[in-house]
Symmetry: C2
Subunit: 435 residues, 2 copies
């Protein structure tokens, strides 16, 4: 183990392996989302994954995987195999690998019995197995499940055993395993992940725009990263400091600069979503919303209306693939619609606002290209937003295939509404459109 | 290598390892969907994955991973690292591991140049690297990209190098790698995957219902499997035979029995979707559709209306969270709606059908429980379907939290419509509802 000095804020060189177990994961029946969660969270707190292994519920494979991981890693996170059934082998193989017996942990057995008692059920006999742990193992608490986490040392590596149930693993990783790993790696202090969600900037342009921001942290300790989920981009600042005040001092100038440079393209921060920002803005102006959609087909309404609290803010959604039918549903006077245009979008939004009695109405019209789906298949998108004050509109053209256009038009409509509600320019050029 | 005898139709014991490479995969920045695709496809053709390894773009890790895989596997599928950039190291490390030089493959270089020429572009100099292959390697064609697949032998294992770009990997795996693996494993003949998509049966009940069906294949060769994507369940029959006629002879009785036992719960087969089945049924009766939604908020319309060809079949969608507002939007005579009930759902559907002029109208009303989201949070779902002939309705109650209810209600509405269009009972009990 190459422990680094105290107070170190840069990434540790500790080699960490993630060892995922289970036939369902190995065979691809279950998508291994736990791997990505663990790797991402470790990266965010300055720890680096060096190797990933996946094996099934097979004694020989598990034993070999444990021994190989012990030979190449300083720390190993084992995920899965802590359940009550016979194919859950992690404790057994951990005991075999470390040359100790499995012993009943009375405290954990009582915890499991209590877990069932609180649910007015009797613990099935098979669950007793979950309290059998390698002698001398360090217990790692699982406050929300019956699988007991634990840690043992094999060779020069510390092994952390975590449950396969995602919500139990997430909590154990964040609250228990990461602090132990940071201590092992000699990383002191506190960490925080600051997140910005943007729409309209691609990852490579965001990377250019934010060039050098990390350097604004006094003494370092802030690392920039991106995660693209089209059509949104997530920009992350992984910050570390000796204590919360120190962390804040390092992070604040970087955070402010990211907010300044990404500007109006930031749609939400941290736990916020574009939907929650729109709903908060509507609430703030005692407003309400109606939507009219063509090709997006209700996808915009389906993002906003089912959110808890939206039931009083979302007034009416209308959908039609045909423009004339949409005009009729929205209450546009007959004979008005000549084709998809910014003017038509404004007209539809205005009519729908009147008809539904909402303070705001959003119309997203799409004129799709003809022919079969292909990579340069596109659509012309016209957006109109009517409100008490005025009606604004915007036109855009997107390419990239049918599904890409559908997702892009949905997000563009939501973003135009967000911008309108916040008093920002609705017509700012985005990276995904052709002009 | 434990090669099995010719004509073998059961799973081979060949040990296959999947070795995924790349910093983005290792660090969790990109979700590793390739692993699951490869493992699932192999399982479907009777091949078994025995080990999974993930390493970054690091020479030392790659070399160690190649050597370890060579020591424990009969065949290794390496994914990623064939690109033109300096961090793509697969060819180089393969050459080093096998003790040969990298040599320029003139044929592949011409292929890359041709690829760019057809796009009226000049090949960047860096792409030349993609034609540098370990001396003596077997070329594996990539008809849709510039990354050249190849195979080499290290120890007693055959290594297959595949590109990280999913669509290139999918095609190379199916067309090139799997036939080679089957030959290596001594598996002869042909394979086919028959898929049934169902709604309303959980995996464990489907497993019970289909107990013993594999045994109906004369001489074996058919394997049953499930993949759950709530709210749908996919039931798969992986079939093998010496030739297409033999395969058909083995598969036909199993396929017929699965169709019989799952009955009305099968919503689609193979490439079909519930959406495509609904649209085909509407087309067949020269019909058209309108939808009215509350908590599902347009999610039903958004499943049907954007499909290519739906533009003439989907007439109108209306959304409101409030029942009175929905009734108004659907054209129900004032004062009718007393609350969410099957009668109200019928009334909304009937009014919407009249107003929109569609042959069919689907209304999905949801009365959500009060309070915060929790695991036993539920909703009462009332569905009405109006058509030329009559109006039918159905009531259901689902639990499982807000998002679970939303997804379940969306699928229940689509399935009720499918059943109605196909003349099946709309009110058959499903596993996800409480009565």
């Amino acid at each position: 183990m190459r422990t680094l000095g105290p107070g170190n804020l840069t990434s540790t060189r500790m080699r960490i392996e993630i060892l995922c177990t289970g036939d369902e994961i190995l065979t691809g029946k279950t998508v291994n989302t736990n791997y990505g969660y663990i790797a991402t969270r470790l990266g965010e707190v300055g720890l680096t994954v060096h190797w990933g292994t996946t094996v099934g519920d097979d004694r020989g494979s598990l034993l070999a995987a444990f021994r190989q991981a012990a030979a190449r890693a300083d720390a190993v996170i084992v995920n899965g195999g802590l359940g009550p059934t016979v194919d859950d082998l992690s404790q057994e193989v951990a005991a075999e690998a470390t040359g100790v017996q499995l012993v009943l942990n009375e405290d954990w057995l009582q915890r499991i019995e209590g877990y069932y008692k609180r649910r007015n059920r009797v613990m099935p006999a098979t669950n007793r197995k979950q309290a059998m742990l390698p002698a001398g193992a360090e217990i790692i608490d699982n406050p929300i499940g019956t699988a007991c986490g634990f840690a043992v040392t094999l060779g020069s590596a510390r092994f952390f055993f975590t449950p396969g149930v995602p919500r139990e693993m997430h909590r154990m990783l964040d609250e228990q395993v990461i602090p132990r790993l940071r201590a092992l790696g000699g990383i002191q202090g506190v960490t925080r992940l600051k997140r910005f969600h943007s729409f309209g900037i691609g990852e490579s342009r965001a990377d250019e725009l934010l060039n050098g921001v990390e350097g604004l942290a006094p003494g370092g300790g802030v690392k920039l990263g991106f995660q693209s989920h089209y059509p949104q981009l997530e920009t992350k600042l992984a910050a570390r400091g000796t204590d919360p005040a120190d962390l804040e001092r390092r992070l604040a100038p970087v955070e402010a600069e990211v907010r300044r440079r990404l500007g109006n393209f930031v749609v939400a921060e941290d736990e916020q979503t574009i939907e929650s920002v729109i709903l908060a803005a509507l609430r703030a102006c005692s407003g309400s919303l109606s939507t009219a959609e063509m090709f997006t087909s209700g996808a915009i309404a389906a993002r906003i209306a089912p959110v808890a609290g939206a039931e009083t803010l979302f007034r009416r959604g209308v959908v039609a693939r045909d423009l004339r039918a949409l005009c009729e549903a929205a209450g546009v006077a007959t004979g008005a619609a000549e084709g998809v245009s910014p003017d038509t979008a404004s007209e539809v939004a205005g009519a729908l606002r009147d008809k539904s009695g909402s303070s705001h109405a959003l119309a997203v019209l799409v004129d799709l290209d003809d022919g079969a789906d292909r990579i340069d298949f596109g659509g012309t998108i016209c957006i109109g937003i009517a409100s008490r004050e005025a009606t604004v509109s915007r036109q855009s053209r997107m390419l990239g295939g049918r599904e890409w256009v559908r997702l892009g038009a949905t997000e563009l409509g939501l973003d135009a509404l967000r911008r309108r509600l916040l008093g920002l320019p609705v017509d700012e050029r985005i990276d995904f459109e052709k002009r």
